[in-house]
Symmetry: C2
Subunit: 259 residues, 2 copies
Amino acid sequence: MSSCDCELNACVLCEARLYPGLSSELVCRIRNLLIRETYSPHQTMFWEGDTADFLFALKAGQVKLTTSLPDGRQQILRLAIAGQLLGFESLSGRKYSYTAEALTEAHVCKINRRDLFEVIQQNPAVSVRVIEALSQELEQAEMTIRDLGLKSSTERVASFLLSLMPGCDGPKKTMSLLLSRREMAEMLGLTEETVSRVMADFARREIIENGKGCLRILNPGWLRAHSGIANGLAIVGSWIILHAATLDAFRIWATDFFA
Amino acid sequence: MSSCDCELNACVLCEARLYPGLSSELVCRIRNLLIRETYSPHQTMFWEGDTADFLFALKAGQVKLTTSLPDGRQQILRLAIAGQLLGFESLSGRKYSYTAEALTEAHVCKINRRDLFEVIQQNPAVSVRVIEALSQELEQAEMTIRDLGLKSSTERVASFLLSLMPGCDGPKKTMSLLLSRREMAEMLGLTEETVSRVMADFARREIIENGKGCLRILNPGWLRAHSGIANGLAIVGSWIILHAATLDAFRIWATDFFA
DNA sequence: CGCCACTTTGAGTAGTGTCAATGCTGGTGG
DNA sequence: CCACCAGCATTGACACTACTCAAAGTGGCG
């Protein structure tokens, strides 16, 4: 595993644990099919509509994926982060369905269609990994559909801000906001002005505090309560889940109803 | 291939061409891992939040996939049609991220997690097929995101109606509309009343003609022109494409500009 | 026949989009 | 060094889309 010139460990396609039972020479041979590239901020990795020759694995950095309507209206599909794969269209030789633009410096490795096919055919473990990555992105996309279909502007901005926080509700520390108001708007299906108004409103209520390119969440609880995901009463599949705080109100309603 | 009791050909997981080079006995063994089921209209195949034990392949019929916000607002993610796979969450043993409800009588076969894993590990061709299915659904989901983020109510209804037509712009023949106004609204991120108004408007302008549960598109051209996908000028990636009709207007603008 | 679910339509309004003006900041060129 | 400019953000006034609430029409079914 150390006899060749491949040095990458952060890439989903490169990780040794993907190739269980393979000799280290073989692993290195696979690794050598990968092309390393670095993109600087604002640089475009590929354009929507270009023929999809490569599958990209993002090792570090953030990438913005956008698509457009013919008249120029633009939508950000999602922000890709380290560990994700871009350009699955390459597998079936279609065209990229979105434009990928680096937001930060971005380190990727890419693999061309033919090589990818070979690797997948020969290494079931890789296929499984790819399938899992794809299915998680699909699930994520479906959550976005739900949000765009159902949520108000306030809820959209609130859940967007929460999505920037690293999972856990850690201490209210400053984090970087790579997107401009316009880009946030393009991501949330709103206008620049609406986003600006909502953000300004949040700042006035001391829910957030925003500097240039950075942001501090002062009251994550408020955001959660107004992000449309936690309302005291949850309907999940065939289950109705009541938050303790809601229960009293429900009891009153119920006694009234059954009286 | 004919010596066992498997009789299915319409299912992506069952098709013999997926298993090139396998003996017919082996193909039959795989086929025997599949469980056939039939659902009647309005029957629920699985609920959002249930543990995902099975991957479903839809052989015939249409299925509605919905997800909800905790307060009950509901969003239709998409309509699944014959040939598609549902419930990829089963692969990683997660929970279903949506509820699947049959719109018509639906024939499926399902396979449990353990068996699925085995088939995938042993048959690269199956993996590739699954990856392609997934990546197409992801692309479809991304188009939905774009539409919900950017389009007006008229554009949403127009493109929805077009999506019901079988690709080609055939003769204006009657087709079935399985969704109620409420369901169309839940799919398009609108309200029942808005959808009703737009549809009534289309009918008054003789763009469509609607009976109960069916629909005839009289003027597909108008719909295309107002679906946000064809405006004479297209910006695709780094390319600017002008429709001939737009070219004159552009020339005028350009001469003016460079004067 | 009445009931029910679904659809259509109207009136009024809340929430966003549109347009325009202002201020701020960082970069550029004289 | 400063003047200038372009881009970004904020804010206000206003318009308009789509939502809300309400009422009435339609068709199927027991």
